[in-house]
Amino acid sequence: MKKNMVVKERMAEDLKYKDYIIKADRRYAETHEWIKLLEDNRARIGISDYAQKKLKNVVYAEPVEEGASFRKGELITTVESIKAVGEIYAPVDCKVTKYNEKLDDDPSLINTDPYGEGWIVEVEVEDPSQIDELLTAEQYVDKVIKKEE
């Protein structure tokens, strides 16, 4: 049942609101993080195209220690642009298994490819059903972006 849902989400069309692309193959937190299940309980976390456009040129990402555990809503790390500090909160209970070291050399990957190469951490999700409780692309656009814009 759950597998079917994931497949359906993958096939859903990406959304575009104003200049912002919101990928339909993942879920979103109100604080602008996306999370995407890779396989089993492994997932990646990054920030939305909307968030990176608001933040503008990212010049620094604070590395995250592997093995660190976070409860849903806890601060995982920060990414910084010239004028702002973006806080990355855990969208679900999780343990960090990998930090994207490519960001050390090129933090602008968060701007150029927020849903791909610009991922921030890879995590082990304690309870994948927590992901289902997050916002779909459509809900994220309607409930979060449209309210802020």
């Binding site: 503008k56 040129n57 010049v59 620094y60 604070e62 920060t78 910084e80 010239i82 004028k83 500090v85 050390d104 602008s108």
Partner: protein, 364 residues
Amino acid sequence: MPKFSTPLLDIHEEKGASLGEFANWKMPIDYGDMLGEALATRSKMTVFDISHLTRIIVEGEDSKKFVNWIVAKNIAKLAPGWMIAPTAMLNENAGFVDDVAVYCLENGKYMIVGNAINKEKDLEWLSAHSSGFNVKIRDITEETAMIALQGPKSPSLAAEVVSGIEDLAPLQILATTKSDFGEILVASKSGWTGEPGFEFIGSPETIGKLLRHFLDKGAAPAGLGARDILRIEMGFCLYGEDIDENVTPIEARYWVFSWKKKEEYIGKDALHRKIVEGVDLLRVGFEAKARMPIPRHGAKIRVDRREIGYVTSSTFSPWLKRVVGMGYVKASHAIFNVRVNVDVRGRLYQVTLKDFPFVKPKMS
């Protein structure tokens, strides 16, 4: 809502600017890539809308005497066709009322260009100190626009529009000069990026046409974000961040005053006392050793864990590919090339204290 707005807003919107508020002005912050805009200024050419800067005309029989009393550099010998920058209006304690540029447009007619944030204060200060002087003080900020063309490719493009501009020496100006786009009130060669650069002041209509022309001819639009990066790379102060009414030019190591060659001006006695008594803090630059977050205004500077000062401005320099910034440290610790720490949210990052500029100016 900001109180003022650049008159060139429609052009910026066409160019995809993201607009924001700065010092009560609605203006372009960037055009999608402030790092790229800063880099383009050093490698090619960009154009900035700086209409928000305060522009005040001082004229009348006593204008020379008055301006010389108000600003800290000697303008007695400033001839028409030249400007002095930077200088400052100091208060009686030698704190900065504003840091300004003074243009001599013609005999007895000066223009003072100051920071946007200080417009009302500057006007009040000038008016309050003008009693006994036969002068007329006129704010022309809103009836004019001002743009800056900056970068190594700017001299040839500027010359296409205003003949003779390429021959200007630094701080030389052309007052009321003709162009294909209408009369330009002032064309000047000063620059605050370290690159060759020119400023143009005139009616919003003329300056708007000039801006479009520069954009059509390959100057990339650049916004306030890039401007801030470029000025930090040069070690220049921003009023309200790095200097204010409680800081004197001595602590700021900001050489905006004349000393021996000038008899009297507001703040001179206090400056003299500062020199005699010495200062507790000095403004210094710092450069990151490795990648680090940008310390924000107020971040503590430490040696080991001992606090020796604080950051006032910092940025990521796309040219140097590292964090640079400035701040005030105890005079006893203001030693260049010494490694100290900057505290960002409780974590210490190593930086080296440096003199300015971080990027060597190309303009001579």
